[in-house]
Chain length 250, copies 2
DNA sequence: ACAAAATGTTAGGCACGCCTTATTTTTTTA
DNA sequence: TAAAAAAATAAGGCGTGCCTAACATTTTGT
């Protein structure tokens, strides 16, 4: 019941594991957790008691384990840190997924809020800035493997020139579309929030602001709701909300 | 005496503190360490015994503390991680020094070798790639504070165009100079290693390769030796070695 | 040189977080 | 439905890393 108890690294790991198990199969059992975290069953019992005492999980001996609202919030926070770090390593540093995931696992416990937000913003910036982009990251990968020479930079510059020409011919109105028209897995840059009033407010609060990168994670059959990821947060938007967001495909 | 014992986070902290104290005043005392790490004196005694047992420090009760060669190597490694992280946070993420330093302090213990190298390379890449550079990072700072709109991107693109023009007029031979002609604090990109034979080999081993960013940290009165930083490593180069390196100012 | 102050060490304790071994409870299966 | 298997818990131990309090050894000031 404690309001905002500080979680130890290992309790964060337990919470994260529970979150993932529940996402797959409604409720978790101690065995699932011990298997996932590779610790003895008795260690799990102790951890579960701690988490229950902090009001983060519903737990009774021999019973299934679920997250309380506070627990879900705390778990999502850990997961967001984890995913943001992993995405940064994969998308910006061009590190392999497995290695990135493992590194995220360790760093997620010690990174400060501010630095995390900066990392998220930087990854976003790299994607939307014309000077960045996936080609640029590919160039970084080349630089890592082969070092850099002036000739490579010349090539790089001509790539920018090509991009510029494309932009120019595309004119000022590019492929601005509505969020609801995106397909699953597509990413876009928020161009404008056309929603007004409360909806507008709600969207901004959730991190949906012009310039932000938004990714469609799942789309219900009728497009309602649409699950998206923005700034590391997973959001579920109603169709009416999605319609109030204009985006530009990346 | 242990060859390559794994150090706990706290022992790494102790080693790092000892390294910094010794850099300032020849030898460390337990009090210096307890003051710096903000722990009780008795904790220091225990840690020192551990470090001595691992053959990393020379330690006798009531006596001054110095690093063994192995200890110096281990300490330098920790310091490199710390500095590389801090530099990344400051130079790439545009985070304040104090905050960056504190974050580095925590992350340095858990970051993997590979990811660290990638971070170092990325920071370097941002500096030497024409698409990156300090102006680009400044743009990132703006993006963080105000979000991004298409107009900003237009400005950004015109900046690149200006850069391109400058490069064009500069022609193909830019300001390639010799490393020995750099002043203290200047940074440059390694263009070519003109040294041959053993010197060449030694330089490459130390991370001085074409494309690398090199920074002059200290310059002896007669330019021999010159202390530089490359890829997070602090090196001391003899004048004869410095003369074998052609660089381009950043 | 010798007391006072500063510094260093020992001893004992506490909290974590993990382990192993043994026991209890629940679920499966024959 | 009862024995076997699986899952969960309890008890006790270990290592780390920190603390306080008490004691030992320098160093310093006069």
């Amino acid at each position: 019941m404690t309001a905002n108890a500080v979680l130890s690294e290992s309790l964060e790991d337990y919470l994260e594991a529970i979150f993932h198990i529940i996402a797959e199969k409604q409720a978790a059992r101690a065995k699932d957790i011990s298997r996932q975290l590779k610790v003895a069953g008795s260690s799990v019992t102790g951890a579960l008691r701690s988490l229950a005492k902090k009001g983060l999980i519903n737990y009774a001996p021999y019973d299934l384990i679920t997250l309380t609202p506070a627990g879900r919030k705390a778990a999502k926070d850990v997961v967001r840190r984890h995913e943001a770090l992993r995405d940064f390593f994969v998308n910006v540093l061009a590190v392999g997924y497995a290695e990135a995931d493992e590194a995220a696992c360790r760093i997620e416990h010690v990174i400060s809020k501010n630095i995390l937000e900066r990392l998220i913003q930087f990854a976003e910036f790299v994607e939307i800035c014309p000077r960045g982009g996936s080609k640029w990251i590919a160039g970084f990968g080349y630089h890592c493997d082969h070092g850099d020479t002036r000739e490579n930079c010349e090539k790089c510059i001509s790539l920018i020139l090509e991009d510029l020409k494309r932009k120019k011919t595309g004119g000022k109105s590019m492929s601005i579309i509505n969020l609801k028209d995106l397909k699953q897995g597509q990413r876009a840059r928020v161009e404008k929030i056309t929603a007004r009033g409360d909806t507008n407010k709600r969207l901004v609060e959730m991190g949906v602001t012009p310039g932000a990168v938004i990714e469609v994670e799942r789309l219900a059959p009728l497009g309602d709701p649409v699950e998206v990821k923005v700034k590391g947060y997973h959001l579920s938007l109603r169709k009416s909300e999605a319609e109030g967001i204009d985006v530009e495909l990346i």
